[in-house]
């Protein structure tokens, strides 16, 4: 095959179309290509040479990068990205892994830069994860220094963007960790002739998905803003509140029994009114400024909110009062020339106070997520080039070996490679007892090392760590909508304008049909209706409870994916539990040793374990582990022989050991007597018994079983007492399945179910009209979890974002299921209380404010009372939601 230098096609040699040039034969696909070549051969030959040239330089210009990609939704996305990369010049290899959301690209840095690769991925609609380094720079004097540094940094491969701020003397650099690191960036700036210093620890940031970027910093900023707002509101309240006192005093001369000169119509009172009209201006436009700015902004967008209502109500009261103060002659009757300045002062003071209290209460509602963000370790001590170095946690890359000393935080997720310790995982799993971890065990970032030192290999860093995933899931759930909210949203859209119309309607009715002085009554009713309506309580009711509830779940190791899941979880009536790994530990362990013919437990266990050392059977591991736990010394076995379907035999310390089932014993004619009966007793309990014979004599039985988790029976009992039907599903034979079912108190056992039929069995239960939850692991049971109305995945270690599940239980205990259901119930109850309160309040408050009770009881609400009611209704909603923070599981 030859290469057409014009179009690049492969052509058969010898081709019909060819040319000789400088002794070299060129072959083409068609006459067109020959013609093109003949006109300007140099351009095609050079291209050819250039390509060869590039190829040679790639030996040292070739680079590999690993990019985190966000927004991969399907397998086709993988192909999209790969194809869009592969057609680019300079890309040698592009491989996108859907499962890890990572792209591995091999490219030639002469032809394409990292930034261009990122741009290509971005243009396909995906985003790429990167880190941001904030660094202080001194020695900059002018704008040209800024461009100088920016250009210098941007030239570096791995730097996506650099922003230098002359005023603050700092740079914000977006870069790809693993490609360039913070130290190299710093050196680069220093090479340009400037000094650098760390502003703060650098912050991980992901372009998409993670919106709480600049984590700690941002949280602090927000908290500071919230504190500032609270203080401002309190000042506004105090200002309006203090002024409200004299205003109240002079507004009700008859109530306080004031002397004649302060009564209605007196010239002194007229001057007092003038003072009040002037004082009310700062109250309205400073204390109540947010009502006006908020109302105006909404008005411009053709929408209306709480501010619209308050601003309209207060302004109407002021206008009327001002006319009464300055132009009393306008009114046909003297009695109409009354003022409502008190309403302005009191309503503004109270509503502002309500807003301040609400900020305080809301700060508490979002504590859970702040706590989670705060858990992240800041630095990690790793081994690089044989030396221990402390680096920011964001720079830990995969496979780094991290050292953790007693009392320190585990920085990222990993597997212990050396040493052991007990680790407090309560912050992630909710499990209060520290967990013993040895070499080979998975550890979770943000947990605390209690006793020993150990080294571990990082297996998940950055946004892949369990903690990052937890934070992301909690944020997602908190911003999701519970279905119940949809009704509220419909109402909320029409609420405020409806209230305005209702207020106008009430005004008209009172003016036309009301008692004398009808104008005054009409105005009071108008203002009261506007002020009492509280759209905030309505809007806040669901999201605030959801936020507290989901956060509370995370604190207890329960990750609820959405408001939808929460709402469905409390309606469940059937719960299907997978046996292996859910009810049981999921791995066999030694349960019984029966001694016989005078052999001791130690003899049986030591010899069997020594034999099993040579086998690779999972049941054997359980025996070895039991022997190691008891610190028995194991010997090496000789003449090991596995008899398929029977057992194993070997020689240990010159003793002949047989380990196996009944067939094995029969084969070697071992006399078992009543041992055979004991064996079937154990089998009835769901265990796997193995006979042990030493030197031709029966020595006893070793029984191994997948043991039930210690709290399973208790949790199942609890689920039943909550009125749920508990069903067990397993692939085991019915004898073992029923045995386990009996021990944990489950009567409905679905046994011998193939893994692929689990979803089908869940569906059968759903067809019985049941709302079904399925509890299982996220891998084998994924279809069943997805089929169920609620899928609860039992988390294993660091894998928390299990796609098929609605709820993930980080701690592998069934108690989590109980807790999740109880929490869902408590949260939904709280939401309903809030919604009922809000609807009830508005539904009752509005007609009363409109004066519906007046014809019957002569009762009319004061606008000031309405203001108080409105201010405290939204505070009540938040306070009620915060009660959920005290949620305690009932066991």
């Amino acid at each position: 095959m030859a290469h057409d230098p014009v179009c690049g096609m492969e052509v058969k040699t010898p081709s019909k179309y060819w040319l000789d040039l400088n002794g070299k034969r060129y072959e083409f696909c068609s006459i067109q290509c020959i013609n093109k070549f003949a006109i300007d051969p140099a351009s095609y030959i050079n291209l050819d040479y250039a390509e060869q040239n590039t190829y040679r330089t790639t030996n040292y210009g070739i680079e590999n990068i690993e990019l985190n990609i966000n927004g991969l939704q399907c397998a086709t996305c993988v192909a999209n990205i790969e194809n869009s990369l592969k057609i680019q010049r300079g890309i040698k290899k592009a491989h996108v892994n859907y499962a890890t959301s990572k792209a591995h690209v091999t490219f030639n840095n002469k032809d394409i830069t990292t930034n261009e690769i990122i741009d290509i991925i971005k243009s396909g609609g995906y985003t790429v994860g990167f880190d941001t380094l904030k660094i202080g720079i001194s020695g900059m004097h002018c704008g040209s220094c800024v461009t100088n540094i920016e250009d210098g940094l941007k030239k570096k491969n791995g730097v996506i963007d650099a922003n230098v701020n002359l005023a603050s003397g700092s740079a914000s650099i977006k870069y790809l960790p693993g490609f360039i690191n913070a130290d190299e960036l710093r050196k680069e700036i220093e090479n340009l002739g400037y000094l650098t210093f760390y502003k703060s620890s650098n912050e991980t940031k992901l372009e998409q998905g993670k919106l709480h970027e600049d984590d700690t910093n941002e949280v602090d900023d927000n908290q500071a803003a919230r504190d500032k707002e609270y203080k401002t509101l309190m000042k506004k309240f105090i200002f309006a509140g203090i002024l409200a006192l004299p205003v109240m005093f002079f507004s009700y001369p008859t109530v306080w029994n004031l002397p004649e000169q302060f009564q209605m119509g007196s010239p002194v009172l007229k001057y007092i009114w003038i003072v009040m009209s002037l004082l009310s201006l700062p109250v309205m436009f400073w204390s109540g400024s947010q009502f006006y700015t908020g109302a105006w902004a909404a008005f411009k967008n053709r929408s209306a909110n709480m501010h619209t209502l308050i601003a309209t109500g207060v302004s109407s009261a002021w206008l009327y009062s001002a006319v009464a103060t300055y132009f009393p002659g306008i009114f046909p009757e003297a009695v109409l020339a009354d003022q409502f300045y008190d309403v302005i002062f009191v309503v503004i003071a109270l509503v502002v106070l309500g807003m301040a209290l609400e900020i305080r209460a809301k700060g508490k509602s979002s504590e859970a997520i702040k706590k989670l963000i705060g858990l992240q370790a800041k630095t990690a001590r790793i081994i690089r080039d044989g030396k221990e170095v402390d680096i920011p946690v964001e720079e830990v890359v995969l496979e780094d070996v991290v050292i953790v000393r007693p009392g320190e935080k585990v920085p990222v997720d990993g597997v212990i490679v050396e040493g052991s310790s007990s680790i407090d995982e309560s912050m992630i799993t909710g499990e209060s007892i520290p967990v013993e971890k040895h070499t080979g065990d998975e550890i979770i970032g943000a947990t605390i090392n209690k006793t020993g030192s150990f080294k571990f290999k990082a297996i998940k860093v950055g946004k892949d760590t369990a903690l990052s995933q937890i934070i992301q899931m909690v944020e997602q759930a908190q911003s999701s909508k519970a279905p119940i909210q949809k009704i509220v949203d419909k109402v909320a859209g029409y609420f405020v304008p409806s209230v305005i119309i209702a207020a106008i309607f009430s005004f008209v009715v009172w003016y036309v049909f009301g008692p004398v002085p009808n104008l005054i009554y009409a105005l009071i009713v108008f203002v009261t209706v506007l002020v009492i309506a509280c759209p905030c309580a309505l809007g806040l009711a669901t999201p605030i409870s959801l936020m507290v509830g989901v956060g509370k779940g995370a604190e207890n190791g329960i990750l609820i994916r959405s408001g939808d899941a929460l709402e469905t979880a409390q309606k469940l009536n059937t719960i299907v539990l997978d046996k292996t790994g859910t009810i049981t530990e999921g791995k066999p362990s030694l349960t019984d040793i029966i001694t016989w013919n005078g052999f001791t437990e130690e003899e049986i266990l030591t010899l069997s374990a020594s034999v099993e050392k040579s086998s690779e059977h999972p049941l054997g591991e359980a025996i070895i582990k039991a022997a190691q736990d008891k610190e028995f010394n194991l010997s090496n076995a000789h003449d090991f022989n596995a008899v398929p379907g029977h057992g194993v035999e070997a020689k240990v310390n010159d003793r002949k050991v047989l380990l196996g089932n009944l067939k094995m014993m029969k084969k070697y004619s071992i006399k078992l007597d009543s041992l055979e009966f004991k064996s079937s007793e154990l089998a009835d309990k769901g265990k796997t018994p193995m006979f042990v014979a030493i030197d031709g004599i029966a020595a006893g039985i070793i029984a191994v079983a997948d043991v039930i988790k210690p709290d399973s029976a208790n949790a199942i009992e609890k689920l039943k007492s909550m009125g749920l039907e508990v069903v067990m599903i397993t692939g085991d034979n019915s004898r073992t399945a029923n045995a386990i079912g009996k021990q944990v108190g489950i009567s409905r056992v679905l046994s011998e179910v193939l893994p692929e039929d689990k979803a089908f069995n869940v569906q059968k239960l759903q067809n019985e009209g049941k709302i079904v939850a399925m509890v299982g692991d996220g891998i084998n049971d994924a279809p069943a979890l997805a089929q169920a109305d609620i899928g609860l995945a039992i988390g294993t270690g660091t894998d928390v974002a299990i796609e098929a599940s609605d709820i993930t239980l980080i701690k592998g205990s069934l108690e989590g299921v109980v807790l999740a259901i109880q929490l869902s119930k408590a949260t939904m109850k709280n939401i309903k209380q809030n919604l009922f309160g809000a609807f009830f309040y508005n539904g009752l408050g509005l007609p009363i404010a409109a004066g519906l009770l007046y014809p019957f009881f002569g009762l009319l609400l004061s606008p000031m009372l309405a203001g108080a009611a409105m201010a405290f209704s939204s505070v009540t909603v938040v306070t009620n939601a915060n009660r959920l923070r005290r949620f305690k599981p009932k066991f």
Binding site: A297, E358, S479, I501, P543, I544
Partner: protein, 125 residues
């Protein structure tokens, strides 16, 4: 019925009709967002008592970047939530906070503050 009563009734009815028309039936201003050189459909939204602009028009399938600038400290607007997209962001006052979205399915997607008082929507075509 006296003249002033008749006037109040007529005034009330016309004012109510105007309120209903203005807030519910009048055509909202839709801002169409163009794709920038970087491939993003990028918009700046000012948050002050409301979202300006509050109705934005995007093309489906292309990445969207909304830069929220909260020009107030009123706690109401400290969070922006996209309930349909399960996204949220804390808006730090006086800073530009980017929210990146990818919407493939045409439709209307609302966004709102934490308590649903301020609202806006993204129309994706």
């Amino acid at each position: 019925m006296t003249l002033d009563q008749i006037l109040v009734i007529i005034g009330g009815i016309s004012l109510s009709s105007w309120v209903a028309w203005y807030f519910w039936f009048s055509e909202k201003r839709v801002v169409k967002i163009e794709t920038s050189a970087g491939g993003f459909q990028e918009a700046v939204i000012t948050v002050k008592g409301g979202y300006t602009p509050d109705v934005l028009l995007f093309e489906a399938g292309k990445p969207i970047k909304l830069n929220f600038i909260r020009e107030e400290t009123a706690a109401c607007s400290e969070q922006v939530i996209f309930p349909d997209l399960q996204k949220q962001a804390e808006l730090t006052p006086f800073k530009s906070i980017p929210v990146e979205l990818q919407i493939d399915k045409p439709g209307e997607y609302s966004f709102q503050c934490g308590m649903g008082m301020l609202r806006g929507k993204l129309i994706v075509q």
